[in-house]
């Protein structure tokens, strides 16, 4: 049985886990940063900027971000049809946080990679 203090910390974290989990998607972070840097961007161009993402995963991630209101999807009725994605204000408001995260990762990357290597040797 969890103690009261444990329950409190869980309750405190739980309601927002659903929203925080979006960050758990590395593609979502990358797409937000690319749209921030490039402005309104076509689907195909996004795909070229992230060569290791499949069309299905790119499409699914964009769909989720659109549902959350972090970006808009605009269809231009041209031939061939043109679809562009653009960050909303809410989407833009995430950029400083992602930048902080990226900065932290840059600062600690060497340590973390070295630690992983040493850890694998210990386990091997």
């Amino acid at each position: 049985m969890a103690k009261k203090s444990e329950k409190n910390s869980l309750v405190e974290i739980c309601p927002i886990r659903n929203v925080v989990a979006r960050f758990g998607n590395k593609w979502a972070l990358l797409i937000i940063m690319l749209l921030h840097e490039n402005g309104s961007t076509r689907f195909n161009r996004l795909g070229k900027m992230i060569p290791d993402i499949s069309t299905k995963v790119l499409s699914g991630t964009l769909h989720t971000l659109e549902a959350d209101g972090l970006l808009t999807r605009t269809v231009f009725p041209e031939v061939p049809i043109r679809v562009e994605y653009e960050l909303t204000d809410t989407g833009h408001s995430l950029v400083p946080i992602i930048n902080t995260l990226t900065q932290w990762a840059l600062e600690h990357m060497q340590d973390i990679l070295a630690h992983r290597k040493a850890f694998e040797r210990t386990e091997g």
Copy 2:
């Protein structure tokens, strides 16, 4: 073919994607916050604090965080054996970023959930 500016932004993001991807794990974020709040904590107690995580996923996430040097695992040779997990300095250094993330999520949660609902209706 990607343009030069697109390649640059990709190169800039790529090397740290591997580290940033850790954030992509909602369990990792939650475990770091719980260890920050509770200090050195036994495996079973962590499991009780996160009722919806399986033993296998908890164990795997702790293992990854240990490999990255974000927490330490200490085995106390008692009967029954006691295993405790504790954040390292690197692990603690993530806490302010996770707090900012959590704060953002709290501020935008209602908007995001409302947007999702409206979006589902449009699609339905």
